[in-house]
Amino acid sequence: MSSLHQIRFLLCKDLRVELRKKESLVSMAFFGALILVILNIATGIGKQVDAETGAGILWVAVMFSSVLGLGRVFAREKENGCVAALLISPAAPWEIYVAKALVNFTLMVLSELVLVPVFYVLFGAQLQGTPLTLVPILLLVNLGFSVTGTLISAISAGTRRNEVLLPILLFPLLLPLIAFAVKATSAALAARPFAELLDQLEPMAAFCVIFAVVGYLLFPFAIRED
């Protein structure tokens, strides 16, 4: 059977469970919105923020909320030893990796459909850029976060304190991506020329490619018991 079919079956299974239970999605969107509200209070309700501060606020909310969903995707596989059932199936480990990364990517996109409007309601009054200019940045961060996070969550899922270990291992790796994303977002929110945005998008794309290859190579070892 083709790899595409295997990935589709794995992806559909996870999305079916997630859309039925909405555990990850609701907690991600709610937690992210809560962070935005707290930061709105902290910066002073009604006070306007500049593009640099706004970019920082958006990515704090997206990063911390996304890590909630990431942990849950693998925790479900650990219940009843389901990960072993996948490993003894004809699905190759890299197919499992791609499917899990796509699940995380989808969950991030769905939660951002809530978080970005909330961000604009709370902080958007003086921001000049339109939300549409954020789309390529959000997609690249989602991709980078998913390919890195899927590998790290497979490693941390095998440990006792995985919910603690996951952000501790993941966030340092994501720092370059987040740094470029903050710069790109502040350029987008300030409606600066697209060339300035592109300068940040290129290294972000490179980050995604590098960590996708690393994930593809290391995931089979990360997911096994030995």
Binding site: R16, V17, E79, N80, A84, A85, I88, S89, P90
Partner: protein, 248 residues
């Protein structure tokens, strides 16, 4: 391996599985200390042994979940480690963990695994198996709502979804009521009559003795006893087993 899978190439070979000098260590602790074993197609081997004897480790290696520290496992002359991905299509496993998704329904679980194994018409296959394990009336129930015995029956159906040539059973009778245990026994007898090779590890002497064609005892990571069941009666085997337990 694309054209010649272990299953398709040498169907009539008498020796199905060969384990040679198999060792597995966890740090300084040796879980398996040189296992040698040949299994013919259609044999039903039951391995008994005390806790920590290495039974589950051996099954995990056969299931390609663990890599051995040294030694080889060959299935129809093909090295299991080298051709693991192709061989998995012919493998089934029942463990004391159910390997089923709690948030999916009974039918969705089987359909998912059937699709993963490339079974044509996964829904028909799933319903056929649910009929066999007497769960067809619970097809739309989430697996989380099933009793332990029912989950194990679902687990048996899941393991059979690809009609495996090699079935591995790790303490499959744990937590089963009499009904579920008889369903499992019937399924095993059916598979055995269709020349499927079965390896079961268990503490349950009665269940092991009623189904197996070959009996083995694993102690301290070594296969200390191996005999055709027809060559020994149940009482004599029980005595030997308890002697081995005492020694372990």
């Amino acid at each position: 391996m694309n054209q010649a899978t272990p299953e398709s190439n040498k169907v009539d070979s008498s020796v199905f599985l060969t384990i040679s000098e198999l060792r597995k260590s966890y740090g300084s602790r040796e879980a398996l200390r040189g296992i040698n074993l040949d299994l013919k197609r259609g044999e039903f081997l039951c391995l008994f042994g005390p806790n920590g004897a290495g039974k589950s480790t051996l099954l995990k290696i056969l299931a390609t979940l663990l890599r051995p520290s040294s030694g080889t496992v060959q299935v129809l002359d093909y090295d299991l480690e080298e051709h693991a991905e192709k061989f998995r299509a012919n493998l089934g496993m029942v463990s004391h963990q159910s390997f089923v998704y709690q948030d999916l329904t009974v039918l969705e679980n089987l359909e998912f695994f059937a699709a993963l194994y490339g079974v044509q018409d996964s829904q028909s296959r799933a319903l056929e198996l649910l009929e066999e394990v007497n769960l067809v009336d619970r097809y739309d129930m989430p697996a989380a709502n099933l009793s332990r015995g029912m989950q194990q029956r679902l687990s048996i159906a899941r393991a059979l979804v690809n009609d495996p040539a090699l079935l591995l059973l790790d303490e499959p009778y744990t937590g089963l009521d009499e009904h579920a245990a008889s369903v499992l026994r019937d399924q095993l007898q059916k598979l055995h009559s269709r020349k499927r090779t079965i390896v079961m590890v268990t503490h349950n002497l009665r269940r092991g003795l009623e189904s197996a064609t070959r009996l083995g005892i694993l102690a301290h990571g070594k296969l200390t006893y191996l005999q055709e069941k027809k060559d020994i009666d149940a009482t004599a085997f029980e005595e030997i087993y308890f002697k081995h337990l005492g020694a372990a």
